[in-house]
Point group: C2
Amino acid sequence: MAHNMEIGGELADLGEFGLIKRVTAKVKIKNESTIKGVGDDCAVLNYPDKRVVVTTDLLTEGVHFNLVYVPLKHLGYKAVSVNVSDICAMNAIPRQITVSLAISSKFTVAAIDELYEGIHLACSHYGVDLVGGDTTSSLTGLTISITAIGEAEDAELTYRSRAKPTDLLCVTGDLGGAYLGLQLLERENELFRMNPTVQPQLAGYDYILGRQLKPEARTDMREIFKMLELKPTSMIDISDGLSSEILHLCEDSGVGCRLYEERLSFDPQTKKMAEEIHINPLVAALNGGEDYELLFTIPIGEHEKVRNHPDITVIGHMTSKEEGTLLVTSGGGQEIPLQAQGWNPLKSD
Amino acid sequence: MAHNMEIGGELADLGEFGLIKRVTAKVKIKNESTIKGVGDDCAVLNYPDKRVVVTTDLLTEGVHFNLVYVPLKHLGYKAVSVNVSDICAMNAIPRQITVSLAISSKFTVAAIDELYEGIHLACSHYGVDLVGGDTTSSLTGLTISITAIGEAEDAELTYRSRAKPTDLLCVTGDLGGAYLGLQLLERENELFRMNPTVQPQLAGYDYILGRQLKPEARTDMREIFKMLELKPTSMIDISDGLSSEILHLCEDSGVGCRLYEERLSFDPQTKKMAEEIHINPLVAALNGGEDYELLFTIPIGEHEKVRNHPDITVIGHMTSKEEGTLLVTSGGGQEIPLQAQGWNPLKSD
């Protein structure tokens, strides 16, 4: 109960139960579906009138994040966002999360406080209750495993498998920024390693850095769809790159697609950074990942509803499966098969 | 969809989506509360008439398990059991799990198949649906994060916080075996390391080895309580050792307790192994952990219902908080304050 240990004290002295009490002391339950949060063998929830949606994501140090340039507070926030993004992809409302950590002995209590500050900030931003978790040690590095729980009416849910061959393919926001933000961080880190007197040059890149370090899940889209009286026929979030996500929708729905390069527009910082490292921003959008925007399909008859919406861009349309999954290039209008070259989390190099 | 890769092939070649398809290919949904399992951004569940309980546990290589002597199939089974045990501690029925893995490149596809064989076996044994997860790489070692979801009527739920000062303190099964099974495995492993021609001497210790390697969650107790028309006033599962769990019940309920040493009986193998390594089996029960039995309190008026039950032992009673949390020793009847000397997962040595 008492939290009178010194900041910077050793985690082992605090112990598992001490740490759990410390990091959950400030938790206030916000949702009426949360009957009991942290503090028993299980959390207890109540969903009498809704479908319950559940998703989980695991982030490991050195694979998903590099603590040399990722602040722990941002990491905590991002770990929640990536789970909430999956809830958004079902057109559901996030309500609860559990957070499990494996921590190596190099971490101080102050470091874990930092991480939880980001987690609590995200919980507050998304209106989500932290209801449980597990905390243990690891021999090396930090692992964060989060499970998120949300709710929706059955009729509101958007699956990956219900796109029709004539549907329009739409995306929220802009793509490629998160990947190029990461390239920038890695470049500056490399320069710093080679010459520690060089200060990182990050000015003018706040947008793509924010996209990488503090992504926001599109919880706003559920309301926007309601206002537009529009229900996507299928939806997925963009975590592994646009190519990979489009191919998921096509495979699961049994359809093909045509994606038009000319329909994709990029943020000026995304374009500038892509130019600096000599890649096409299209490649960052297709294969980069971590944008956490939503990719969805709508019936062609609903085109007017999205045509001029500032948050939504029509980037192509679905076709019959036989027509394949194609990228139509700008200029010449070449048709190139889409390939899932997104990040493979099982390749650690 | 096709699973034609060679066994022993590289995980990186299979990729995340290939691996997920491979390990979930045989999953058949068993519970009507599971609307949609693996294969979308979220699983979709339906709990119109029940409370939903949620728990999560994270196991890390080198801290929770040593792959030198823990077979992967057993590890998979145990990882599910420890979560199901938390559901049992709420007097609820387990229904779904999600499984997240971080895998280092030293693992083959065959090894992951082994691990999932144990997970599927446990799902089948407990009647639980595998509905989601995440699979990624780690720089070192294996991490398993499981979230379990279950259901109960509100009135059936047993919390830690509702023990009364006159309640009887009861435990299922016998204690100390899992800890002594671990001591045996570690001793034989040490001897083998010093002289690899020595075969491990495990004969005659099948019970305590089973307690350590393949623990069973007490899903049977819910039915037993029903048959006895008995509802525990409080309940917790024994994962960290009897002392630590008793202190949780006392602290959360605002009561004290007297635990009687003479009431604890031990399996013959537990006693024999304790003798071999010169410890009191009581110490293994109090501080060893991993027994995954249930510790609970009942009103004193219900004593007759449990008195001769083969699965239940009355080991003490609760008292007012002011009387403290005491162990009453056999023989002299000394009163010693209970101490939570159970395993601290934040100490990695």
